[in-house]
């Protein structure tokens, strides 16, 4: 038996965090590990593509019904992956952050994770760490490594920088540390370089770049991960490579986030470069060099 690995994956909403996480879970499962994926987002759609596109009852639903039947909260998905959704209140009411805390406490205190005994537990967490609730996986050292998914979009990187602030804050008190950055939806070299430069400047590391691919969207629309829907594709191989790297990755970084003004300056430079790149590629203009 191997020591159980617990990781959390953060990222700004819409950046492909749940897609990446589900594909990572599926790939890990394919390689032979038992996996539990815990969605920590009130919109509870983290594990949909592991379950044929269908949502599952959430931990919050169980808590709300007053039931102690914890069987209700674990649902098997693709290849026997244990899927859990923390769930939360309707938008605009209650406190989603406290929901995440309560869900994780419930999983933890009742020995549910031990009962199912997965080799790896992946928490898929809403990326803007808006309050203490969403910092729980970092704060209590629940996840030994934190990964973050980002595109080259400035606001996505801004959210990563905020996450780094959270990791830094709790790093002295046994909090989880950074395992690495996953660059997602990469369309050009410039985008890759931007994320690379951010990781260099913040003392962190990019563990994998995931190119933008229509295969991912196609499979998602079918309610599947790429691993399940198109296992022989190049994209599936990218996710399997990510899975191997994550399972072997022992690195733990204490990141050095930018302060807001410095991040802004850094971002402006890069956004100009990327815009120029887009212009040159779409209009066929050479921006540098001899050209002919």
């Amino acid at each position: 038996m191997i020591k159980r690995k617990q990781i959390a994956i953060y990222g700004k909403g819409g950046v492909g965090k749940s897609t990446t996480t589900s594909n990572l879970s599926a790939a890990l499962s394919d390689i032979g590990y038992t996996v539990m994926q815990v969605g920590c987002d009130p919109k509870n759609d983290s594990t949909n593509s592991l379950r044929g596109g269908k949502p599952i009852p959430t931990v919050m639903d169980t808590l709300r019904s007053g039931s102690n039947d914890f069987e209700q909260i674990i649902h098997e998905g693709y290849n026997g992956i244990f899927c859990v959704e923390a769930g939360g209140p309707e938008p605009g009411v209650g406190c989603a952050g406290r929901g995440i805390i309560a869900a994780i406490e419930l999983l933890d205190n009742n020995g549910i994770i031990d009962d199912y005994d997965p080799d790896i537990v992946i928490y898929d967490v809403l990326g803007d760490v808006v309050c203490g609730g969403f910092a729980i996986p970092i704060r209590q050292g629940l996840a030994e490594q934190i990964y973050t998914v980002t595109s080259s979009d400035y606001m996505a990187i801004y959210a990563v920088n905020n996450l780094f602030k959270g990791i830094l804050k709790y790093s002295g008190s046994g909090g989880g540390l950074l395992g690495g950055i996953i660059g997602n939806s990469i369309k050009s070299l410039a985008e890759k370089e931007m994320i690379e430069d951010f990781s260099n400047k913040t003392d962190s590391e990019v563990i994998q770049y995931v190119p933008r691919s229509p295969t991912v969207t196609k499979c998602e629309l079918e309610g599947k991960t790429t691993i399940e829907g198109d296992p022989d594709s190049d994209q599936a191989e990218v996710y399997r490579e990510l899975a191997r790297k994550v399972i072997n990755n022992q690195k733990k970084f204490i990141p050095k986030p930018f302060d807001v003004d410095a991040l802004n300056d850094w971002g402006s430079t890069w956004v100009s470069r990327i815009l120029l790149h887009q212009k040159t590629s779409s209009q066929g203009i050479q921006d540098d060099g001899s050209g002919v």
């Binding site: 939360g88 009411v93 209650g94 406290r98």
Partner: protein
């Protein structure tokens, strides 16, 4: 910082003892002499007979206020709709996560059937404020069915005194409508139920005093038809605020909304001089015929000074010209200080104010405590809501009498002083109708403090 054996705060180098005054917003206060905003709003609501408070708050908030606000306010129970008879949503984790609006709806529905009240008030505490319950929207659903208003009073908003203002602000915004002005009617503000432990006696005394010169005072609290008294607030000719800072925001809002001017006094008047000054000032503002007022003042002064003479021997033989210390809220401290100095010939040593008034009122409070005194000795004035630090600051001083809360009672012997409970919390003195207001109030204070040394047989 560290604490030495005596509890004094030592500075970094551990050499010289220094005490830090706890200003508003500083992080730690030991045994503060007030409850939270919810406690203040709740106590105020319970002072209005016929108004039923419903707490929209965490499980235990209501019971906490029974001990921390009501019992502490002169060992008073909550009455028919207070204490353990108060309905509360008793919010727990489920409501924190999913919101407490449904629970509140159920509580209002059930309570409006069970309680016989002229009006209802929902007081929301910390949890609904933190999770963003839209309580106002729930309240609006009952607009045509139940006289109901909402006070958003999360405990972290401030202390009990803040809760008093929040009560009136909510009332003014949600319930009150303009009424024709009634000549000779005044509202009394600035006395905070339970928090000013003599609130009942003080308000009744003020009402009677003003009646004696032909004015009708709406004291709101303790009146049989309290909810109507609230609704009648806009008809007053004047608002009279009996505090350097409590009730000021309310008076300003009533002025803005209904054009009612206000007069302020630094405290409820205590003893002949303060009371006569109070009556003369009010009479002048409200055009009360001078002769009537003068006649009343003359009679009352003659009577009360004649009565004071009965205490003369005990006073002059045993404890003349004594130093005294006060640890109390501003209202109480100002009244006692002026009376003891200007009428009893006593010497003010140190006055510690426990009510944590906002910065902008502090200068006025210091003035009220140090100016207009017949003594050449002025008191040292300190703002100190921390019970422990207040006690430490009483060490090695000349005072013989300590007018304070029940928290100082046990320290008085080792400080070499005689103690009288005059302020919140008052766990060792039950207060029903007692107060030091008016002409008789001076006599009552004399009875209380001379009784601490007169005797023993």
């Amino acid at each position: 910082m560290s604490f030495n054996d005596n509890g004094g705060v030592k500075n970094k180098n551990n050499q010289k003892e220094e005490f830090t005054s706890h200003e508003l917003g500083k992080e730690h206060v030991e045994a503060p002499k007030y409850s939270c905003a919810l406690g203040g709003a709740y106590g105020t609501a319970l002072g209005v007979y016929g108004l039923v408070p419903l707490l929209h708050a965490g499980l235990g908030c209501g019971l906490g206020q029974l001990f921390g606000q009501l019992y502490a306010g002169g060992q008073n129970a909550g009455g028919p709709v207070g204490g353990t008879s108060t309905a509360t949503t008793g919010l727990v984790e489920e409501h924190v996560i999913f919101g407490g609006e449904d629970k509140l709806r159920k509580l209002i529905n059930a309570s409006s059937e069970v309680y016989e009240g002229d009006g209802f008030v929902v007081i929301s505490g910390c949890i609904p404020a933190l999770i963003g319950d839209d309580v106002d929207a729930v309240i609006r659903e009952y607009k045509n069915d139940i006289p109901l208003f909402h006070i958003n009073a999360p405990g972290f908003n401030g202390n009990s005194y803040e809760g008093y203002e929040l009560f009136f602000e909510a009332l003014i915004d949600q319930i009150l409508t303009p009424l024709p002005t009634q000549k000779g009617v005044v509202n009394i503000l600035g006395v905070v139920p339970y928090q000013h432990i003599f609130w009942k006696g003080e308000l009744l005394t003020i009402k009677k005093l003003l009646e004696s010169i032909g004015l009708k005072a709406n004291i709101i609290f303790t009146e049989a038809d309290g909810f109507n008294k609230l609704k009648e607030l806009p008809q007053a000719e004047y608002n009279i605020v009996l505090s350097t800072w409590n009730g000021h925001r309310t008076a300003q809002k009533l002025e803005e909304k209904f054009g009612i001017p206000y007069i302020t006094f630094p405290s409820v008047p205590l003893g002949p001089k303060q009371t006569s000054h109070f009556l003369k000032t009010v009479a002048q503002k409200l055009d009360v015929p001078g002769e009537k007022v003068d006649k009343f003042i003359k009679e009352e002064e003659r009577r009360s000074y004649r009565f004071i003479e009965y205490s003369g021997d005990a006073l002059l033989i045993a404890r003349p010209h004594s130093y005294f210390a006060v640890v109390a809220d501003s209202n109480t401290a100002i009244a006692i200080n002026k009376f003891l100095v200007n009428e009893m010939g006593y010497l003010p040593d140190i006055i510690q104010l426990t009510d944590n008034p906002p910065e902008e009122y502090r200068e006025e409070i210091i003035k009220a405590l140090t100016e207009g005194l017949t003594s050449t000795i002025k008191p040292e004035v300190v703002f100190e809501p921390d019970a422990h630090l207040a006690r430490e600051k009483l060490r090695d001083r000349p005072f013989q009498f300590l007018f304070a809360s029940s928290l100082e009672a046990n320290s008085a012997p080792e400080l070499g002083a005689l103690h009288v409970t005059v302020a919140f919390p008052s766990f060792n003195r039950i207060v029903l109708t007692d107060s030091y207001a008016g002409y008789d109030g001076g006599l009552r204070l004399i009875e209380d403090y001379i009784s601490t040394f007169a005797g023993p047989l």
